[in-house]
């Protein structure tokens, strides 16, 4: 068994990054995720593992440092919260275009604009549908516990290197700020098993030049690149979907929720079952690739689905696409940092799905 600690979600991300063999963190502080850079600084990563920790002059500088460092095949990351992630979007699009692995953490707060520092899930569209320009996808992982904040760092790096694609951990202020028991994984040496033929670490006489770029001026070449990217995304959809099902075996009504909303729905499932209402929860752990097939399957079993988010309704669109009109799909959400109680969520299930 790994070492047990009581940690904040943000601290767990930082500790996991060190243990996962992260080579460098570039970032700029913003609430509610500043504990990540604070923890890394307190740990003196340069002494512990040699990991570089740099507070950049801005979010834009930080993401471009990630772009540069990732080009050399290093394991690198950045983290921010919603407005900061918006600033990073140009860089993220370039990194996706240049097919570089890296980890981006978004501890989401309420928006739009500067918004609020309270928890929110209103960056779902931005994370899963692009955010920056062009036809690209991020691998998007949605932790629902401090344990997963730690575990998904390792997973995100593994997937990022497997696909040479940026991976994002989409968390929020609730999971970031809460403390839970976490079992830390044993430190791993940086994975050097991956194909390094593409990295730019200085040309040697025995090979051609490697070029890292997202610029393809010829249309035919640009289209070909887009098609290659799509192949990768399809492979992710076939192989990398991860979900957790809670009390789904005999469920008649289903909650679909991720991250902190899923925790609230999990309690609502217990409350409903205490009243004799058979509800279950399907929790996507990957938001891209989205568990379309798994939700479609559940639509053959349950009578209705309530999607619960800390937003005005974003993931619900993907749930509806998956269900494709087979059964009723409704939405319940709070925004701006307001968090629904389990009782409130159950009431919405009764009004919109069971009684509706």
């Amino acid at each position: 068994m790994g070492e047990l600690r009581l940690m904040k979600g943000n601290e767990a991300i930082a500790e996991a990054a060190i243990r996962a063999g992260c080579d460098a963190y570039f970032g700029y502080p913003i609430t509610p995720q500043s504990e990540i850079i604070e923890y890394l600084a307190a740990e003196e990563t340069h002494k512990r593992t040699g990991m570089v920790l740099l507070q950049a002059e801005s979010e834009i500088a930080a993401i471009n440092m990630v772009y540069g460092a990732a080009s050399t095949g290093k394991k690198v990351m950045t983290s921010s919260s919603s407005p900061g992630i918006s600033l990073k979007q140009e860089g993220i699009s370039y990194i996706a275009g240049a097919e570089l692995p890296c980890l981006i953490v978004n501890v989401v707060r309420g928006g739009p604009g500067l918004g609020t520092i309270q928890p929110s899930q209103a960056d779902y569209f931005q994370a899963t549908k692009g955010g920056g320009h062009g036809d690209y996808r991020l691998i998007v992982l949605a932790p629902a516990s401090v344990q997963e904040m730690s575990d998904f760092v390792k997973l995100a790096f593994d997937l990022a290197f497997k696909y040479r694609n940026p991976a994002m951990i989409l968390s929020d202020g609730m999971i970031g700020q809460m403390m839970e028991k976490v079992e830390l994984f044993d430190p791993v040496p940086r994975n050097t098993e991956f194909d390094q033929s593409w990295v730019i670490t200085g040309k040697t006489a025995d090979r051609e030049r490697n070029i890292i770029t997202s610029l393809h001026l010829e249309s035919a070449s640009m289209e070909k690149h887009n098609q290659e990217l799509q192949k990768k995304y399809i492979q992710m959809q076939e192989q990398e979907v991860r979900i957790e099902k809670i009390q789904c075996e005999d469920a008649e009504f289903l909650f679909v929720a991720y991250g902190s909303s899923a925790r609230i729905c999990q309690k609502a499932v217990d409350l409903a079952r205490a009243e004799g209402i058979k509800t279950g929860l399907l929790r996507p752990q990957t938001l891209f690739p989205f568990p379309t097939k798994e939700i479609e399957k559940m639509a053959g079993q349950v009578k209705g689905i309530l999607t619960v988010e800390l937003s005005m309704g974003q993931m619900v669109e993907d749930v509806r696409l998956a269900v494709n009109g087979k059964i009723k799909v409704e939405f319940y959400g709070r925004a701006g940092g307001m968090i629904p109680t389990p009782e409130e969520v159950l009431k919405a299930m009764k009004q919109k799905i069971i009684g509706g």
Binding site: I117, Q118, M174, M178, M179, R263, E343
Partner: protein
């Protein structure tokens, strides 16, 4: 066992650290624990509160609407959380500064004069530990040894010399806690 607790008061009363010690101590006993603070604007100028859940099984929502126990340290928090205690649940409060006392008859209500007791000690910073002692007397869900270990874990090393003082405070809290009704 599943104990859902809200601890609420002013910022600076040690609300968050009291919750942290409970959570650490629960972890020492192999319980599942969660510690969810209010952060941000609510904390600045208003009440500080933290939800602590100790459980034998996996914890679902870290944010709740009703609680088994409310530990209340100011009037605002009492006004807000008295109605949020589950029927049959426990409300523990310090009477210092309280003018509107709890009225419910379907819950167990206890008082701990922690502010007054802390004034008799070397430092009034022991306030939160006196309250915690009162709670642990009423709900001995954690071994005293594990509380000591929890203290060691949650306090930075430079404060470890204060552990005996904190233990004294816990014991005082256990002695002075008293029932308001029942």
């Amino acid at each position: 066992m599943n104990e859902e607790i809200i601890i609420a008061g002013f910022g600076g009363q040690g609300v968050l650290s009291m919750g942290k010690i409970l959570a650490y101590s629960g972890m020492m006993q192999n319980m599942e624990v969660s510690w969810m603070p209010s952060y941000g604007p609510e904390m600045r100028g208003g009440t500080a509160n933290v939800t602590v859940i100790l459980s034998d099984s996996r914890i679902s929502s870290p944010i709740l609407n009703v609680y088994d126990t409310a530990i209340i340290l100011n009037q605002q928090s009492l006004d807000k959380f008295e109605e949020k205690v589950k029927p049959g649940g426990l409300l523990l409060y310090d009477t210092n500064g309280i003018t509107r006392h709890p009225k419910r008859t379907d819950i167990k209500i206890y008082q701990v004069e922690a502010a007054a007791e802390a004034a008799k000690m070397a430092t009034t910073k022991t306030f939160n530990m006196i309250v915690l002692g009162g709670y642990l007397k009423l709900k001995p869900i954690i071994d005293f040894e594990d509380i000591k270990n929890g203290l060691k874990k949650s306090l930075p090393k430079r404060h470890h010399h204060l552990i005996p003082l904190n233990i004294d405070a816990l014991e005082r809290g256990m002695k002075i806690v008293k029932a308001l009704n029942n």
